[in-house]
Amino acid sequence: MILLQQIVNGLMLGGILAFVAVAFTLSIGMLNFLNFTIPALFMVAGMVAWALSTAGPHLGGFGWHWLAAAAVGVGVVILASLLIERVTYRYMKARFGDATEHALPLVSSLGFLIVFEHLAMALWGGDPQRFTLPFKDTTITVGGLLFGVPHLIALVLAIVLVALLNGLLKGTQLGRALRAIAENPNAATLMGVEVQRIVPVVFVIAGVLSAFAGILYAASYGTVTPFMGEAIATDAIAGMVLGGLGNIWGAIAGGLVVGLVKVLAISTFGAEIEKIPVWGLLLLILVVRPQGLFGGSKIGKGKF
């Protein structure tokens, strides 16, 4: 029974990881860009939502309702995503041609990560902050197993959003344009796709996914810190690799698996062991089967 509960807990964590993993995999699959601003945006949404609603007035807390605060958090992330696209991807593509040939966007995104983390630290300090949402501790009991409501929402939302995303990519004109860009940005331009207007969409979608995840994370675990992005980043990247780079359904599965492995490892062996199975598995996959468990989409040119 305990095992079953642990499995449920793992899947719950995995639901949140899945969100971020999808954001990562979308950036890599569409733009050949390992986007390290995603964990930063995850954190920004969570912290902004906390600040506007719960923080003390000197820290920007206006005592807003958490939904409004969350909405503003998402809004801030969207703006940030557009800024990031402009500065890391578009600028460099204009200046250096195929930006994906260089590590530039990656490095630039790392720079942004540092900026956001320290901005948050400067504004709100480095300590973890309690962020209690009304339904944080609400649970549903099904067959003797406890399901946290925020976690459930995260999981369901992740699946729904990815289904929508999938539909968008396969069925709409925007989706076709996105896939054309993923295949070959230059050819896409030649075919009349307005790359410059569409690439920001990818950034915004990834940003929104990260923002949702951040808020759901805060709702599930009740704490936010400027460094909450880091922990999630490593696990989400693991999920992305497991699922195959560029494979958005794979990312969900990968996120779930990572959540599962983490929780099970912690409950069986203790908290310290959890890195080894996750990352050892990952290293193995990268070397032996880089397309992940489920096969990823083809990425750019492979050369960095």
């Binding site: 630039s108 900026v115 310290e272 070397v287």
Partner: protein, 292 residues
């Protein structure tokens, strides 16, 4: 010398060593997002030997470097089977595995970290750092250094003229790993403490960033990068202490680093020090220009 200044210099020395550990593979075109991995191996090996076995620093530190080099050699084969983004991820995964393993060795302190008694003052750390710098300067002037940089610029033509790609890459990673281990050994004996948490993902990110910021085209780059990373935030902090109105500088001192990275990637992605720049500087002072 004041305690503050000597602490800063010690930190600078360690940062310089770690910078070169990332530089050597980067010069061969291999981006390492897992520098912390080698630093941890070296730090825990040296720290463990000196505190648990009572080994003197002069033996423990090289042991740390050797262990890290060994690990780098072993891990280079699987890592070199990956390319591009996958390789970056593989180095990242490697560092996490190292952290994970170390967390589970109770004799080394586990999550609480390892405390060591022996202290390596400036009289140790600075010469070691200078030694590393001199070594890498010399290394890049040898045929090996030529092979490394040829590989970076054009793999197929390098291969055509006889550069053994795999061997050169493995060597670059191994040497980089050993240097990283040495840096870790210095680190743990400078601060008398090491733990996985503080030398983790963010550490690896910082190192990679300031090495790339300095520039990987020349051997001067990592030095410049380490100087910038160590001194600028400190400088900003001192500045902020001068005037209460400048308080924001303290909170923002690493932000400045982040912004600098973003701007640099936009306007000068090859880093602060480039070969062309070096040539112009040396041609003005020497006759005819030096072949570097």
């Amino acid at each position: 010398m004041s305690g503050y200044l000597s602490g800063l210099l010690g930190l600078l020395a360690v940062n310089v060593i770690v910078a070169y550990s990332v530089f050597v593979p980067a010069a061969a075109g291999l981006l390492n997002l897992g520098a912390a991995g080698f630093v941890l191996v070296g730090a825990y090996t040296a720290g463990g030997l000196s505190s648990l076995q009572g080994l003197p620093l002069v033996l423990a530190a090289p042991a740390g470097a050797a262990m890290a080099g060994l690990v780098a050699f072993a891990v280079s084969f699987p890592i070199l089977r990956t390319r591009g983004i996958y390789m970056v991820l593989a180095t990242f995964a490697f560092a996490e595995v190292v952290a994970g393993v170390l967390l589970n060795i109770p004799a080394l302190g586990g999550a609480a970290g390892l405390t060591v008694m022996q202290f390596a003052g400036l009289d140790v750390v600075v010469p070691v750092a200078l030694g590393v710098v001199a070594f890498v300067f010399w290394l890049m002037r040898t045929r090996f250094g030529l092979a490394v940089r040829a590989l970076h610029d054009d793999e197929s033509v390098a291969h055509l003229f006889g550069v053994n790609l795999r061997l050169t890459q493995v060597a670059a990673l191994t040497i980089g790993g050993a240097i990283g281990g040495l840096g870790g050994a210095m680190l743990v004996h400078q601060f008398n403490f090491i733990d996985v948490q503080s030398t983790g993902v963010l550490f690896s990110i910082y190192v990679l960033l300031y090495v790339l910021m300095g520039g990987t085209q020349t051997v001067w780059g990592p030095l410049v990068g380490a100087l910038f990373f160590t001194l600028v935030p400190e400088g900003l902090r001192r500045l902020s202490e001068l005037d209460p109105a400048l308080k924001f500088l303290e909170g923002g001192r690493y932000m400045v680093f982040g912004v600098a990275v973003v701007l640099l990637m936009m306007v000068r992605p090859q880093g602060l020090v480039t070969r062309t720049m070096l040539e112009r500087l040396t041609t003005r002072s020497a006759e005819g220009g030096a072949a570097r």
